[in-house]
Assembly symmetry: C2
């Protein structure tokens, strides 16, 4: 099934991020007709960015960097694949662009204050958890090995 | 009052964006103790970015670009000043970082599908509309003068 194929690409992005010492979360954005619009990983460590989560990097990668980003219609009904459940910022980004489905590997390590599955579904976005242990374990390992970095994340603040 | 002072800085950012041909929306993020954490404007045109709205640019500017962004505590209770009401993506970003107040110039040109004032307030974020006509008019002028660019925005899709 295509979901497996695209999720594997998100996982590949997460692994690249992990390899570079970054937060191991990857994402790929796929249009309604199956075209990859963009992919990327969390750049919090690599670029010191507070906004470039995996999903945001995938969205950014969907633009050619010219003065005119793709028309909004390109994103309508697209699927966002992410190795971990999107946070509330990435949820907002998905809603803004009319993403129709969010397929994620695991909801572990989610900020419990924001039930993003519920938020997405309340706006008609389908959510699918594929239950990927590798994403979960990679994240858990990163947290263990980077306590100082993890301590600066909004999640760690409870 | 400090709100006026900081809102004026956001407006200055919006004007810079307008001057460069960009979507004229500016923002400044101010910590609970009155320090400017970051400021910026929408970079959709200038950088072809689909994620760099004014508020996201202000958040990005809050990072020194090193490997460790500021701890989440820095953002807790901060105020986001934006010349126009934050969209649902920027609303999510404010929620992620525990922003306590959102002060905006006008709610005109907002995507009506997402009542971001209601969303912000449902999570305890105070919202204040200062009723700034200049922000509103600058945006209206940009839309009139850039129909092709505006037509690609998610707002224009209805």
């Amino acid at each position: 099934m295509d979901d497996d194929k695209f999720f594997a690409i998100a996982l590949e992005e997460a692994k690249k991020g992990f390899h570079d010492g970054g937060v191991p979360i990857g994402a790929v954005l796929v249009s309604k007709d199956g075209q990859i619009l963009g992919k990327g990983c969390n750049k919090r460590v690599q670029e010191g960015s507070v906004t470039k989560h995996g999903e945001m990097s995938a969205l950014e990668a969907s633009s050619p960097g010219t003065s005119l980003p793709p028309p909004a219609a390109v994103y309508k009904g697209a699927t966002m694949y992410s190795t971990l459940l999107p946070c509330v910022m990435c949820t907002g980004a998905c809603l803004l662009y009319g993403i129709g489905r969010v397929v994620y590997g695991s909801g572990a390590d989610q900020n419990l204050k924001f039930d993003t599955v519920k938020i997405l579904e309340s706006y008609g976005v389908e959510t699918v958890c594929v239950g990927n242990r590798e994403s979960e374990e990679m994240m858990a390992r990163w947290v263990r090995e980077n306590p100082e970095r993890y301590g600066r994340e909004p999640w760690a603040e409870g």
